[in-house]
Amino acid sequence: MLEVLLVEDSPGDVRLTKEAFRATNESVRLHVATDGVDAMAFLKQEGAYANAPRPDLTLLDLNMPRMDGRQVLARIKSDESLKTIPTVILTTSTADEDIVSSYRLHANCYFSKPVQLEDFESLVKTINDFWLTVCQVAA
């Protein structure tokens, strides 16, 4: 199984991402954290997430309640154990400052969420094909 952590507060986008992965790759198990605090608990296997798997890939939204994606990204990429998990920004923001600051915080790459459903599905396929098929990820 490939473990993917989706950090996303919009229920609609969670559902679309789930459906798109289901259509693209049956070996992906998608886990959802709905804000940054939840995401960090999952990654650090704290509280209710004591048995959470280590993700092979994290998809991270930027704008979220409690702890936003920038803070989550900074924590992942400064943590010796977590920094090797590929972390892909997937956000509605197309602002240049968000793009640059994400790369500065060592996001592995940055995507803007497309508006159209077909484009969203094809983006999930692109992410799956590259990160979960072509790339070597740390075991």
Binding site: E80, D96, R104, C135
Partner: protein, 182 residues
Amino acid sequence: MPLEVLVVEDSSGDIRLTREAFRDVNPFIHLEVAHDGVEAMAFLRRQGDHLHAPRPDLILLDLNLPKMDGRQVLALIKEDDALKTIPTVILTSSEAEADVLKSYQLQANCYLSKPMHFEAFHDLVKSINDFWLSSVRLPQKDDEEDEQESGTQVPHLRGRKRSPGMRRNNDNDNDRRRRNAH
């Protein structure tokens, strides 16, 4: 505006294969080559013969290189505030787990193993192009950097500047790049 790719590679055979594959896949890519780590850093810092070097949109970095190896180059790029935002893709013959882990620890954007066969290598270059140079959002270059690139003899391509309103144009440009490849 062409897309600038810096290939840091000491094998002349691999340089040639990379060049040919990119030429097939995306004619709008301008490929620059550094043959060792010292040359790569001089290029990126615009030192010596590289005073007018363009800022790359993407770096493809081999690990085992003469003079300064790829791990050192990667560490220098990713701790330099001006350079760290350039996506740096490790492209190496090593499949050693230690190299994969070390590269991600040094904040490589991704790690790819060079395939043995030519067709598979060609497909990998296509994947790199389709993902990094057509799908992903790259950091925008500022005007000063764009001016430094303006002498390159490649047909003008609209839409390098990215803003929400222009997204559709960018997508069309990407589609056109793909179509042109066939």
